[in-house]
């Protein structure tokens, strides 16, 4: 079958690494894939503000309070860049929010775990933001221009987030026994969910092949996960703490760390909505949205009134 001309141009751009821009023709499935992926990412930033925001008021020093506040605010900013990038594909922000609130759109499952102690703020920075960076750096070269450009800005800030998390754990690791226990407990709870962030194994990842062809995705889930495990296995030594995996062992032959089996049943349960905090996170977002309705209505009414003058 002969390809229609716009499709040839599109394929040619992908081939030559020329960015696809909002006004360019693109296959409908490419557009839908991007909307799904970018909005899911935006929602993750916004929902991700909640578990950490939970500790802003209890941050144990003024310096930590300022850093955490700036970090959570960065996440709101990331959400904003990403919603804007998704809007260039023809979907409105309200529609995206609606998809989040009704459960039609997903967000990263990692945010359905609770933040029980201050050390969780460290573990989230080091592990969750670390995994996010690993996933996101290749997206700076994604074929869709607005997405790639948003990711460049996001990645710069994420590396600061990861450093602050590592520094929190480093301080706790050098602290009292209670602080060290707190840090180890946080790592124990966040490690497995973090390595699940790379998504299902390659043989059961439904989107990988097409997304790689379209150059939205550059590496497979398992490749990125391995890279992350290799880095963390070394960094945890600096912290003087341990990763909760008895099978973690350097494999000379592979040149990588071997690691234990991931509990994918847990992963799918949390994705399906049965994680510890799924309900709470969505309710909180919904409540913020509902409580803010009068503010948004007032702003529109005011704009109409005063512009009419």
């Amino acid at each position: 079958m002969q390809q229609a001309e716009p499709e040839i141009i599109f394929d040619d751009k992908i081939e030559q690494e020329i960015k696809i821009e909002p006004k360019d023709w693109m296959p409908e499935k490419y557009r839908q894939t991007l909307i799904r992926q970018i909005s899911q990412h935006a929602h993750s930033e916004i929902v991700g503000m909640l578990p950490e925001g939970n500790w802003i008021t209890r941050a144990p020093s003024l310096r930590r309070k300022a850093i955490l506040l700036a970090k959570v605010q960065d996440e709101a900013g990331h959400g904003l860049y990403l919603y804007s990038a998704a809007e260039t594909l023809g979907i409105g922000r309200e529609e995206m929010y609606d998809q989040l609130h009704t459960g039609k759109a997903k967000y990263s499952s990692i945010f359905n775990y609770p933040t029980l102690t201050w050390a969780d703020i460290g573990a989230i920075g080091w592990l969750v933001d670390g995994a996010a960076i690993m996933n996101q750096v290749p997206l700076c070269r994604a074929s869709y221009g607005p997405y790639a450009r948003a990711m460049v800005r996001i990645c710069k800030e994420e590396s600061f987030h990861q450093r602050q998390g590592f520094e929190i754990l480093l301080t706790l690791g050098k602290g009292s026994k209670e602080q060290r226990d707190m840090a180890q407990d946080a790592i124990n709870r966040w490690w497995w969910p973090s390595i699940m962030m790379f998504g299902p194994p390659d043989d059961s990842s439904p989107h990988t092949i097409q997304n790689t062809k379209w150059k939205i995705k550059r590496f497979t889930n398992d490749e990125l996960r391995q890279r992350f495990v290799d880095i963390c296995a070394e960094q945890v030594k600096v912290l003087g703490l341990e990763l909760p995996d008895n099978d973690l062992k350097w494999n000379e032959e592979r040149g990588h760390y071997d690691f234990g089996e991931i509990n994918w049943d847990e992963f799918w349960e949390v994705v399906k909505g049965n994680g510890p905090c799924n309900k709470e996170r969505l309710e909180t977002r919904q409540k913020a949205w509902d409580n803010g309705a009068w503010v948004r209505e007032a702003a529109s009414a005011f704009a109409e009134k005063r512009n009419g003058l």
Binding site: I46, M49, L50, G53, I56, T57, R58, A59, P60, S61, L62, R63, R64, K65, A66, L69, A70, V72, Q73, A76, G77, G79, L80, Y83, W118, I168, T171, L172, K174, G175, S176, E178, Q179, T284, K287, A288, W289, N291, G292, A293, W294, V295, R296, E297, A298, A299, A301, F302, K305, R306
Partner: protein, 266 residues
């Protein structure tokens, strides 16, 4: 409850007492309202405004830190403590009745409109105060005020625009803002009664601050189609450590880790 003030020997008659108390008062105002604003982070009605309020909170935490650091330096310079006092000691190891912030700053967030209005009433005061403070005889306070003035100028602009927008938005938003104004109004006169600055030998024209503040508030409230409360029933006491229960609850949350695990690094 242990208080850091037990580790500081600062009789009221000490020549540095006035300036230390005044600096802590400036710091406490900034910290307490910053903390309140930070409670909104992730829960705001519009993403852009969530970011804006977090920004204001960050500016104010920064101001508080500058003032606390200066107070700590004054303690050290005057050999008033055998241990090193830090900015965090003031924030985390004092009881509610040792805080000197205005009552307005500690009031609970209420709805978004109450928070905006609280910020507007306070930032407008802070703006006219810092405008004078930047030229005061104490070069440290002057420098902090001068730097902060740029931030506060934005806080006033942002909050006043929102007071107008919500006041003259819908019937519902108008009513909510009028209720918030009535609720917060009793705490406003405390901002304008001065007091602590003169004990610190900082000479400010309090009458001018009051005139400028009143003019600005009157004009924005009118533009917002709201009405200034006629009640002259005001509440005072924050600068003397007589607070509303809101502050105790806030500090319980804020100081939780420092109080549970005393004496460690974070």
């Amino acid at each position: 409850m242990e208080s850091i003030l037990d580790k500081i020997q600062l009789p009221g008659s000490h020549p540095a007492a006035g300036i230390i108390h005044y600096t802590l008062h400036l710091a406490d105002n900034a910290l307490v309202i910053a903390h309140r604003n930070s409670e909104w982070c992730g829960h705001g009605p519009i993403l852009e405004q969530d970011i804006a309020l977090a920004n204001i909170a960050l500016d104010l935490v920064g101001q508080a830190r500058n003032f606390y650091q200066y107070a700590a330096a004054l303690i050290a310079e005057n050999n008033l403590s055998s241990i090193t006092i830090t900015e965090d000691d003031f924030a985390y190891l004092r009881a509610a009745d040792e805080f000197k912030n205005f009552l307005l700053t500690e009031q609970s967030n209420g709805h978004w409109g109450t928070t905006i209005l609280r910020q507007f009433l306070f930032s407008t005061y802070q703006y006219f105060l810092y405008r004078q403070l930047q030229h005061c005889s104490n070069e440290h306070l002057a420098a902090i005020a001068q730097k902060a003035l740029k931030e506060v100028t934005y806080h006033v602009r942002w909050s006043s625009e929102w007071v107008i927008r919500l006041g003259d938005g819908t019937a519902e938003s108008h009513q909510k803002m009028q209720d918030a104004l009535n609720e917060l109004w009793p705490f406003t006169d405390e901002l304008l009664t001065g007091g602590l600055a003169s004990a610190a030998n900082i000479s400010l024209d309090d009458t001018l601050i009051k005139t400028e503040w009143t003019e600005k508030i009157t004009s924005v409230i009118a533009d917002a189609t709201l009405h200034l409360p006629t009640s002259r029933q005001y509440v005072y006491g924050g600068t003397e450590g007589k607070h509303t229960p809101h502050l105790t609850a806030m500090l319980k949350d804020m100081q939780y880790l420092q109080r549970t695990y005393p004496g460690v690094e974070w």
